[in-house]
Symmetry: D2
Subunit: 351 residues, 4 copies
Amino acid sequence: MQAIDRARPLRVGVAGLGRLGRRHAQNLAYRVPGATLAAACSPLEADLAWAREALPAARLYGEYADLLADQAVDAVWLVTPSALHAGQIVQALEAGKHVFCEKPLSLDVAECERVVNVSRRHAGRQVTIGFMRRFDPSYQDAYAKVQAGAIGRPFLVRSQTCDLNDPEGFFVRFAPTSGGIFLDCTVHDIDVARWLLGKPRATRVYAAGAIALHEGLRESGDVDNGVAICEFEGGRLAMFYASRTMAHGNDTSSEVIGTAGALAIGRIPRANRVDVYDATGVRSVCTPTFFDRFEEAFLIEAQAFVAEVAARKAGDAQKGSLGATLEDALEATRIGQALRESLHTGAAVTL
Amino acid sequence: MQAIDRARPLRVGVAGLGRLGRRHAQNLAYRVPGATLAAACSPLEADLAWAREALPAARLYGEYADLLADQAVDAVWLVTPSALHAGQIVQALEAGKHVFCEKPLSLDVAECERVVNVSRRHAGRQVTIGFMRRFDPSYQDAYAKVQAGAIGRPFLVRSQTCDLNDPEGFFVRFAPTSGGIFLDCTVHDIDVARWLLGKPRATRVYAAGAIALHEGLRESGDVDNGVAICEFEGGRLAMFYASRTMAHGNDTSSEVIGTAGALAIGRIPRANRVDVYDATGVRSVCTPTFFDRFEEAFLIEAQAFVAEVAARKAGDAQKGSLGATLEDALEATRIGQALRESLHTGAAVTL
Amino acid sequence: MQAIDRARPLRVGVAGLGRLGRRHAQNLAYRVPGATLAAACSPLEADLAWAREALPAARLYGEYADLLADQAVDAVWLVTPSALHAGQIVQALEAGKHVFCEKPLSLDVAECERVVNVSRRHAGRQVTIGFMRRFDPSYQDAYAKVQAGAIGRPFLVRSQTCDLNDPEGFFVRFAPTSGGIFLDCTVHDIDVARWLLGKPRATRVYAAGAIALHEGLRESGDVDNGVAICEFEGGRLAMFYASRTMAHGNDTSSEVIGTAGALAIGRIPRANRVDVYDATGVRSVCTPTFFDRFEEAFLIEAQAFVAEVAARKAGDAQKGSLGATLEDALEATRIGQALRESLHTGAAVTL
Amino acid sequence: MQAIDRARPLRVGVAGLGRLGRRHAQNLAYRVPGATLAAACSPLEADLAWAREALPAARLYGEYADLLADQAVDAVWLVTPSALHAGQIVQALEAGKHVFCEKPLSLDVAECERVVNVSRRHAGRQVTIGFMRRFDPSYQDAYAKVQAGAIGRPFLVRSQTCDLNDPEGFFVRFAPTSGGIFLDCTVHDIDVARWLLGKPRATRVYAAGAIALHEGLRESGDVDNGVAICEFEGGRLAMFYASRTMAHGNDTSSEVIGTAGALAIGRIPRANRVDVYDATGVRSVCTPTFFDRFEEAFLIEAQAFVAEVAARKAGDAQKGSLGATLEDALEATRIGQALRESLHTGAAVTL
């Protein structure tokens, strides 16, 4: 973050002020050196009321178009519904903004490809898709160790995204539009696997699933527990597991196995450094939600985006983005869609 | 072990005195109350010489037929090459012996079925196939907790058999006859999964693999790292991983996930209760081989076999065998062969 | 942090810009909502040069008196040499400032008492001594659990402060003025023990020590490994361990044991959530220094100070400070001095 | 165990058939190659009735004198009340037997010395005091690593013996004769510390304690939680903790810290390799009693005794006993008594 210019901060406008949008906005407003939260927009009055209180320095808009028209905004930060992401990225690029967009880019492969194509005409702009797991310090450390050769040649990733069971079944109502468990959850593991394995292309996938608790998923063709295998070019492999029904907390973990060793990230999803000793044994309390687990990653992700834009401005040779590119996001959607197809057909899907 | 009659011990004859056979023989000779090692046989003079020294009380034979003809042998213990198992079990049953046989029953499904059929005519005899993992105290504890409802309804097992890399590649030379990684290693995980999930039948499997280090496997169509998904009737699932290339030791572990919790067995393959603190961090040294990991299981397995024969003799109601039955072994081979087929065809295999 | 008034932030002046002072200054400048870093002072030109670059918004002074004279400074933040703390706190209170001061208050009990007495005349001012461990999220969680009765009545604390061995022996040169291992390191454990046990007074202590590696300590009567027992009123106990010679990292941990359970904080000093699997076993890399271990605690400590001053201003009923008071710091010094005396005399010291 | 002669086994007679005596007797009867349980004695008819059933091959006696008179007994195994140990060892030596005796040798230092003196006249006999912890495989591994120099020069041991709280307070009734918590429990930690540190002599000790739950201990001057420091010659140190009031199980652990690293044994007292995931977090169930924790150690201890007698017989150069000698037991009692004195006087005790 050498290149950060505190005197000329990156002026960011956040679009979308739901639960996650508010977190991003507060990070950008108060915790990211080199950035200012210049503006925010939401179509909901409740969100704007919250923003007037919590983000007093930001200009507030009801319309995304107005945010884009604000010439004192350098970058937009999209935390809007997934279905809007692709279109809003294109608009932002055409308005000359840098773009950070929450995952997923789009559930539709063709639409992902369209955004990739548009972005090629705006090569001067930074575009990052928010696969925040890459910025978690433990994932960062594992990535650095892999790059340094600590495990030889990495050839297998095992990765899971498992949520604490929500008896209310929020995600059941969300199932018709979420794309299902693989596109909603496993997409993170897909990105982690490709990132740790050197960004290979997938060649074939297979998926299976079960409904353990939430029968309501059946009508949208979704499951609450899914397992998958993904084969990549060059004999590299991944195994994925996603669950909505954990009893103990949000349990997100990954392993990368190489020819000379392995690394596990987050083997026990402990909330902190406390162990409790009582009549049930010795236990670690677990992180309840991905917010708790990845709070720090969301912040570092924002700091990294600002640093990368600053590096661009300073003309630094691009060493490749740390965050997920549009191409990475396209590949994640392509694989996620193939997993979904495999779940439905019971057959392996060749890519 | 109430029913054990020390005055009239079970007289066991071991066939096969290789590395594992010797361990079984010593357990039976010195560590299994209610059993005596009455006899042993091996076609190799070196084995017999070892036995004369280590097993002075046992009658020694060069031929299996002579062991079977020994009327003072109640049970045979087969630790012979896998290809001989099926035939030797049939012969033993026909000679009126109880039979313990190391896994696998056979790599051939039809041959497994034939043995199952023969055994139906000898219902008074105990026949157990040596899936020793079931007898490991931690697996036993997990099984008991599942039976007691501690995790609700179990629906997913993840299980792995991972060996310390052998740079000599012993298993490479063994590959043409071992049946490959899934029939040699994963067969244990298949048995564990079915056992923990209530012995369901498999409906469909998919497998993939990679050669990380041992190129010599290519000509026998084998891999040194394999991953697989197995779907069972009733929406139950399993994920398997097998590896020949671990850097840290033999890492055999399993998880069973239910609707109200989960159990993990052997998450860190620590050799013992020691943690080492040094400049590299805080570490657990790992079990180097499956012998080290399952030494106790091999012993308890033998004790359980003797207790089950004693219970039969005492006319105790059969509550079902704790060890793997011939039917369990048949199903393990059936699934293992389907995994092998899937690895070779790249397609899911319906059972 | 309800009471934070972003429009009227607390204006802080940092005194002392060494390694730790710089960290505090950057936290206050960029990471503490409700605070601004208004000023900083150091007698060293190198520090001021650093500050001109890193803290462009702060007014810089060479003299502490000038910082105190700055009417646009509401609170001073003392990260100066320990010997100056007591005098500077008194001066700051007399200048009408709130005060945060790094530990220790003073190595001299009488001087601690003098500051306590002065502070009684300035009850409207917030004074906190920087025992940052209290603000670490895991220590916070343990404290909350104790308060909630999770372990019954707490009666024993075991706590340690162990540093990675420094072959250069920086602390050896520092030994003549540091007060020795118990006043320099164990003082944190003393504060933690009293805090978790309900702030009892000590009645008797005993200490012993050894020089494992750093013979240079002998002439100042210090040791590089010290152990101690502290008895408190009401049958409460503490055991302390301090070391300068760890091979694996900074290993700071504490346990609190109660009549119905126990809590351990930081049992393994893992740097992050990564486990490394290699030929040496499975290991966690450790936090190298207390900076790495307590980075977050230093920040939360600053945020809490600002929130407490804001709460005072808002007239909120004082529920007692979360941070260490002057009385806490006095008691820590009193106990630390008794430990030192016990180490030198070989006899228990009654307080 | 090279020297074991299966044809001429060591003929052992067990004295005392309480809970622990029965375990020793069964180990010797069925699980120790090279030994036979030739005889057993107990003054209680219930014990003898149990033995007739469980140990059919043993000659049974009501009087210890008759056991000693049995010429077909080579070694006696004392699991009698502690107060009888010293006298019975002397009698056994005078009858020409080898002796294994459960700890403690005696609570009286002078009596310990007397036995040591008597034993010097019977140098051909093996005498081992049952500090079984030395034979636990993890303690063995740590000892071997220390001997191999893995942690440099060891200078500090921290060791604890903590029992699951017994609401019935069996040990309260036992307190008047047990010698109190340090002589009953910590004596194991004393032996471990000396063993790992190279058998140094203690120079000074200090102890303190608290009654957390069992007020009934007050009248016998005992506590249910005790802490202690022990200084040894050569600047070596130990810290001890003993408790009768743990909520989670028997938690026996030790650490040995050296100039180049450290080893921890039994950091988490997990019952086995299972982790339970449920709404309370991720937990290990703990070993409930020392029987569960040290079952294997009791067996290996017996095997080692038999091997050492066999080695003596074979004229092997004595490399020093692995088990505790009478001199070790004397030193443990000397230190334990000093701890008790320190607890009562509140002063350090010089040895």
